[in-house]
């Protein structure tokens, strides 16, 4: 009886979605962001809906009911494509302390809602295909003022109740069957496309009603029978109907509660931020720049200052001092009667164009009136001159307050390669350059089956010495004070244990020399950049590393080659080595698309001697926030690789400046892998060339130029 009733609800919802195609009133403002369901995707309670989140929205969901905790991160990668990473804990699921399941979803909005047609989305849930959440769906949602109706058809986990023969069986007989889930940790992580949309299908649906401005009520008919859970006696289902409510706070927080399957109560929190608007103070809070100082008419003819013997030196000292007060560093400067050429580093601003803009304004205040041309050569943090930006002082004076001054100044700037780098007298304060720092560090390991997050906390001391531009000696020592990363499970790897001995490194390296290197950064020729690093390169490897990068200043494309000969370091991370040594290296191609996406392919030999390639895709915002994913396939078989089958993960980077509103170049960067194994593992070398060079080149400067006058 109950089932009949519920089926009717689903049927009605689907019918409403498909047939009641009427123009909607402008009630949909509150629907700007759909609610997220218990699996962290746009949806009602357990079932998905079809609308997408606003572009770039990043949402975190945490929900719990009766021995189950589900957490998920949902990222709207493009206006139509989104990705989910989910981490679920189920108590008493098997004989161990608890069951942790990691899964990835992708969703695609096939067509957005129009006046007459519903939004339609397709989703692949846990598309590895072997996890307990594996399922696919096609769902449609239509808005009728304050009401939203959803209907869909699902496979796999979504075909748990009242399943029927797969309609796709008409296309090919193989769709009629779905092989049983393969369990066992070694089988996880494979992309099992052969399972998708196979086996029985079932219908689901529901209604959402918006009550007032901030409250959404949901009722759904769920086709999820929770078979893995019910078969273990963990969850009872009395009814396929779920009801719930979501309250939306102003700060991006949603609080939801639901009554599941007539037996369980669920509570869920969702927090949504958009990296395009990370703070409520767009443009930042840093103090105003020095204004452009216009020259009095006719003053440019006065060359009297050139007669002063120490004129150039005084000017250089003035510039060095004012730069230092403004978050810039002067490496070298050469002043001629009509031109000044200087090499500078940005030590403070996330945005390079802003640093260039500030340097330019300082020069208008300090340079004698006859100096008409400013040549600014920004240098990477490692000391490589990467571009040559030529600005005419007259243009700067003219455009300082022009309504469209940013773009006009970009149009009139000449951006060229810095090669060959002319000899300019070094700023006396700049070299030799010695820096040190002391502070806490935090190291994390994720998703250990017995402890989802493991942390180590300790003290780190670092020092860096640059006797002349591009020659860098640096080292770091860490002392671990507390933590539990040493309790990570011992390695069970069947290939060389190039990364899975992490627990031993932590245990034995209480005080560790993390790295100690000598590096030379140089320009072998036009469009070419070079690096040679020697020493203890990272906590697990030492040796020699060399890299050459080809990157024309206006190009969005770059190629690099890196070769390393390294030996595995002793566990205590002193000066000693173990026996394992390997020649590892990659050919890399980089593409910086103008839609904010960056692509990188690294092909070559990894630490375990395995051959393969890594694809990384990032979405990058102009404020410096980056969110991306990567995957590596090598000739290590899925079985030999072990848990996870191949190396993959997500990566994010958030400049501190976007969190605090104050200019500071430090970033929070984290790479999160479902599991760290030995296949597809890459050497970590500091000072890889591409990122540093790219941010001083034209495509990047151009997209940042809006802050030139900030």
């Amino acid at each position: 009886m109950k089932t009949d009733h519920s089926m009717r609800l689903a049927g009605c919802a689907i019918l409403a979605t498909v047939l009641m195609a009427q123009p909607t009133l402008a009630q949909d403002r509150a629907w700007t962001r759909p609610t997220l369901n218990s699996l962290g995707v746009p949806g009602m309670i357990d079932m998905p809906t079809a609308h997408a989140m606003p572009d770039a929205d990043l949402s975190f969901t945490l929900g719990t009911f009766d021995g189950t905790a589900r957490s998920a991160a949902h990222f709207q990668i493009t206006p139509r494509l989104s990705g989910v990473f989910r981490y679920v804990y189920i108590r008493d699921f098997d004989n161990t302390d608890g069951f942790y399941d990691r899964s990835f979803d992708v969703r695609y909005l096939l067509s957005p809602e129009t006046d007459s047609l519903p939004a339609i989305s397709v989703g692949l849930q846990d598309f590895g295909g072997t996890g307990i959440f594996g399922g696919e769906y096609l769902v449609a949602t239509k808005t009728f003022g304050r009401l939203r109706a959803t209907g869909g058809i699902g496979w796999g986990r979504f075909a748990g109740k009242n399943g029927f023969d797969n309609p796709l069986g008409l296309l090919a007989v193989r769709f009629k069957t779905r092989t049983a889930s393969v369990t066992g940790i070694s089988q996880t992580g494979r992309l099992d496309a052969g399972q998708w949309f196979r086996g029985d299908a079932a219908l689901f649906g529901g209604l959402q009603y918006q009550l007032g401005d901030r409250l959404v009520l949901s009722a759904e008919y769920s086709s999820d029978a929770y078979r893995p859970e019910t078969s273990r006696g963990l969850i009872d289902q009395n009814s396929p109907v779920n009801i719930g409510a979501s309250y939306r706070f102003r700060n991006g927080l949603d609080l939801s509660a639901a009554w599941l399957y007539g037996t369980k109560a669920e509570v869920r929190l969702t927090y949504t931020i958009n990296p395009k608007a990370p703070t409520n103070r767009p443009g930042g809070l840093e103090s105003a720049p020095l204004p452009v100082a216009p020259r009095p008419p006719g003053s440019a003819a006065d060359l009297g200052w050139t007669q002063q013997a120490d004129g150039a030196e005084i000017l250089r000292n003035n510039v060095a001092q004012t730069f230092a007060e403004s978050g810039l560093r002067l490496d070298a400067m050469k002043v001629a009667p009509r031109t000044v050429t200087l090499r500078l580093r940005n030590t403070q601003y996330t945005n390079t164009a802003q640093a260039i803009g500030r340097a330019t304004r300082i020069l208008t205040n300090l340079m004698p009136a006859s100096v008409e041309t400013f040549v600014l050569i920004p240098v990477t943090a490692e000391g490589t001159p990467a571009s040559r930006i030529t600005l005419r002082r007259r243009d700067i004076e003219e455009l300082a307050h022009a309504p469209d001054g940013a773009w006009q100044s970009l149009a009139r700037a000449d951006i060229a390669d810095a090669y060959p780098v002319n000899a300019a007298p070094l700023s006396p304060d700049a070299f030799p350059d010695f820096r040190w720092n002391i502070g806490p560090y935090l190291a994390a390991s994720y998703f250990d089956p017995r402890q989802p997050v493991r942390l180590d906390l300790g003290v780190e001391v670092g020092a860096r010495f640059e006797p002349n531009p591009g020659l860098v000696f640096q080292g770091r020592v860490r002392h671990r004070l507390a933590g539990n990363r040493d309790e990570l499970g011992p390695s069970n790897s069947v290939i060389p244990r190039v990364r899975t001995n992490a627990d031993i490194y932590v245990r034995e390296g209480q005080t560790a020399l993390t790295d100690l290197t000598a590096a030379k950064y140089f320009r072998p020729g036009q469009d070419l950049y070079g690096r040679l690093t020697l020493g203890y390169l990272e906590s697990m490897y030492g040796g020699v590393s060399g890299e050459v990068l080809w990157k024309p200043v206006t190009s969005r494309l770059a190629f690099g080659v890196e070769a390393n000969y390294v030996r595995q370091r002793d566990f205590e991370q002193g000066f000693g080595f173990q026996d394992y040594e390997v020649l590892t290296g990659h050919l890399s191609s980089y593409f910086d698309a103008d839609n904010g996406f960056t692509y990188q392919v690294d092909a070559g030999r990894y630490l375990a001697g395995d051959w393969g390639a890594t694809l990384s895709i990032n979405r990058e915002f102009d404020n410096g926030i980056r969110i991306g994913a990567f995957a590596t396939l090598t000739d290590v078989s899925f079985d030999d690789f072990g848990e996870g089958s191949f190396d993959k993960g997500i990566r994010f980077e958030v400049p501190l400046s976007v969190l605090t509103g104050s200019p500071i170049t430090r970033k929070i960067a984290r790479t999160i892998r479902p599991v760290q194994r030995d296949g597809g593992a890459r050497l970590e070398v500091q000072g890889r060339l591409y990122e540093g060079v790219r941010e001083l080149h034209q495509p990047e400067l151009q997209s940042e130029w809006g802050r030139f006058w900030r």
């Binding site: 958009n274 990296p275 395009k276 608007a277 990370p278 703070t279 409520n280 103070r281 767009p282 443009g283 930042g284 809070l285 840093e286 103090s287 105003a288 720049p289 204004p291 100082a293 216009p294 030590t347 403070q348 945005n351 307050h401 022009a402 309504p403 469209d404 001054g405 940013a406 773009w407 010695f434 820096r435 040190w436 720092n437 002391i438 502070g439 806490p440 560090y441 935090l442 997050v453 942390l455 906390l457 780190e460 670092g462 915002f621 102009d622 404020n623 926030i625 501190l656 605090t660 509103g661 104050s662 500071i664 430090r666 940042e704 809006g706 802050r707 006058w709 900030r710």
Partner: protein, 218 residues
């Protein structure tokens, strides 16, 4: 356990020091923490800016108030170039006035990056009764966006205006602007010499209005 540790860890991670940071990281953290506990009573700057104080001040001074941010400040003339004046406060905020119009701000967050005043600037006190304004702002992901407004002007002569500097007989100009999504109304009080002695001008959607009074001219 982990949850209660989290904020502490964040602060610790941010608080590294060394030759490089020059205390900047620490200052950033302190600022962020300070901001949480801000909001104590501040004295009204208007009480300080008495006519006697202003007379003895000895250099140009502008009084600025941002009601939406609940701040007041005195600004000194940092640069004058023709009709353009750049006023700077002690805490590193600048306001650029072009013949009395606020055309740029820096250092506020949500700054007005530039203004295209259209046809109105040369004939502000005259006959022109409508014009177009274009403002530019930085977005959260550092792109410049332009907002265009159509503005209408109305002038009322012989209006008495009170400022920190005293009482003036002024021409009051109201500027009513509307754009596709947002509108604002600016007010200017102009004395007989053509100097804007007082104004209420909209900076932008993030900052709101600025109340500006010329405490002391050249």
């Amino acid at each position: 356990m982990t949850r209660s540790l989290f904020p502490l860890l964040c602060v610790l991670l941010l608080s590294a020091c060394g030759s490089d940071s020059e205390g900047r990281t620490y200052a950033t953290v302190r600022q962020a923490v300070g901001a949480l506990f801000a909001g104590q009573e501040r004295p009204d700057l208007r009480q300080t800016l008495t006519p006697a104080f202003i007379a003895g001040f000895g250099q140009p001074l502008l009084f600025v108030e941002l009601p939406d941010r609940d701040v007041q400040a005195g600004a000194l003339l940092a640069q004058q170039n023709g009709p353009r004046q750049i006023w700077a406060t002690q805490d590193g905020i600048t306001l650029t006035l072009l013949g009395g119009f606020l055309t740029e701000t820096r250092g506020l967050g949500g700054d007005l990056m530039s203004t295209d005043l259209g046809d109105i600037a040369p004939d502000f006190g005259g006959q022109t009764d409508s014009s177009v304004r274009i403002h530019r702002y930085l977005t959260g992901d550092d792109r410049l966006v332009a907002m265009a407004f159509v503005c209408n002007y109305a002038r009322v002569p012989g209006v008495s205006a009170t400022t920190v500097a005293g009482q003036f007989d002024t021409l009051r100009v109201s500027e009513t602007c509307s754009g596709p999504e947002i509108g604002f109304e600016n007010l200017y009080w102009i004395n007989g010499a053509g100097v804007t002695v007082k104004s209420v001008q909209w900076i932008g959607p993030n900052v709101g209005y600025a109340h500006i009074e010329l405490a002391r001219g050249q």
